[in-house]
Amino acid sequence: MSESNAPAISSPVEYIQHHLQNMTLSGERPSDLVDFSVFFIDTFLVSLILASIFAFAAWRVSKNIDADKPTGMQNILETVVEFVNQQVQDIFPTADKWVGPLAITIFVWVLFMNAMDFLPVDLLPSLVGGIASVFGYDPRHVYFKSVPTTNLDTTFALALLVFGLIIFYNIKNKGLVGYIKVFLFHPFGKWLMPVNIIMTTIEEVAKPVSLGLRLFGNMFAGELLFLLIALLAFSVWAMPAQVALGTLWGIFHMLVVPLQAFIFMLLTIVYLGLASQGVEEH
């Protein structure tokens, strides 16, 4: 542990930068804000493994589901399903059969990905670095970012699918003409049509952007704070402060992690519920 902490003490900036960099498929860093030639293996693998755990648990439960004697994992999943279904029924009573699965997938998957934040910030990076060094790589150039939701790709993948569904539900329930009318005559009536188009477009686009950025921002900030607290390991005398701050932030983060997952799920239901309303008359 002291070895992996050594660069942190000597150069904090390098330590943090190292932790904020993804492992990429080609080994090159993205050159622009949007660069589709790069693929982050760490983010993808961790989220895929977490998705598989959830899917496996679901499969195990459904294989021997028992209505009379629910046990163990079935109880947990039943509770989660009931909780999510309650939210869907309250917010979006006319929801079709896809909204519930969508909502529970978002909730559980985001919760799992966020919960990766609870692992010590150096655990997975050191582990991967150690394994890489066995194969002859320099651990200082092996990057691993273990929390998938501190990555814009993940949060925007979720947000974009929700955005697509918002458009789909709008067209499905209002008709294409009805949806266009919303852009034209909402919110100021027909005399301010250009303003309406701009306003409604911003309103609609703000939904996925805020969804994606909210989750990303919260988790990224949380991870960064853990890194800063980890930097306090520069001296033995700073240890009590590190422990105290780490504990406090950890406890606070235990609130943030499920809360962000819940908010993402709830807003998804709300947006889809709004999208499924019929045409409003102005």
Binding site: P30, D32, L33, V34, D35, F36, S37, V38, F39, F40, T43, F44, S47, L48, A51, F54, A55, A58, W59, V61, S62, I65, A67, Q74, L77, E78, V81, E82, N85, K97, W98, G100, P101, L102, I104, T105, V108, W109, P148, N151, L152, D153, T154, F156, A157, L158, L160, L161, F220
Partner: protein, 156 residues
């Protein structure tokens, strides 16, 4: 902080996960929950029905017991009446039987008496003839004294 090709990978994972969760987790569990809800409701309704039925059955049992008591009392009184009647009948029968026996005995006695008389009559003539011949010392012809003998017999 970049948007990369990972986005597409995450989109695919997300979509597949939604589909999988819907098929494997959401629908079976929602069905199970619905099923359980229905069964609990059914069970409660059935228990309520059962309780009502029990109440009815108790009421019916009470009615039956009451009716049975009434019937039993009736049967007892009937039996008593029948008892008295039977005793009376038995008495009557006994008296009748006694009368009959008495009459039979009487008839037998009479018959016996008559038979005794008859045999006496048949013997009387012989005795009279035998007695007379002893007294007279000579043979008496019964046929010559037929009328006298007949008189004698008649007197018995």
């Amino acid at each position: 902080m970049n948007v990369t090709a990972t986005l597409i990978g995450q989109l695919i994972v997300f979509s597949v996960l939604i589909w999988f969760v819907k098929a494997v987790l959401w629908e079976p569990i929602i069905n199970t929950l619905e099923d359980r809800k229905k069964r609990i409701a059914d069970g409660l309704a059935a228990s309520e029905k059962g309780m009502k039925e029990q109440e009815l059955a108790e009421q019916r049992a009470k009615d039956l017991i009451k009716q049975a008591k009434v019937e039993a009392a009736e049967i007892v009184s009937q039996a008593k009446a029948r008892d008295a009647q039977m005793v009376q009948e038995a008495k009557d029968k006994a008296v009748e039987e006694a009368d009959r026996v008495k009459a039979g005995a009487q008839a037998e006695i009479d018959q016996e008496v008559n038979r005794a008389k008859d045999s006496l009559r048949s013997k009387v003539s012989e005795l009279a003839v035998a007695g007379a011949s002893k007294i007279l010392g000579k043979e008496v012809d019964a046929s010559t004294h037929k009328s006298a003998l007949k008189d004698l017999i008649e007197q018995i």
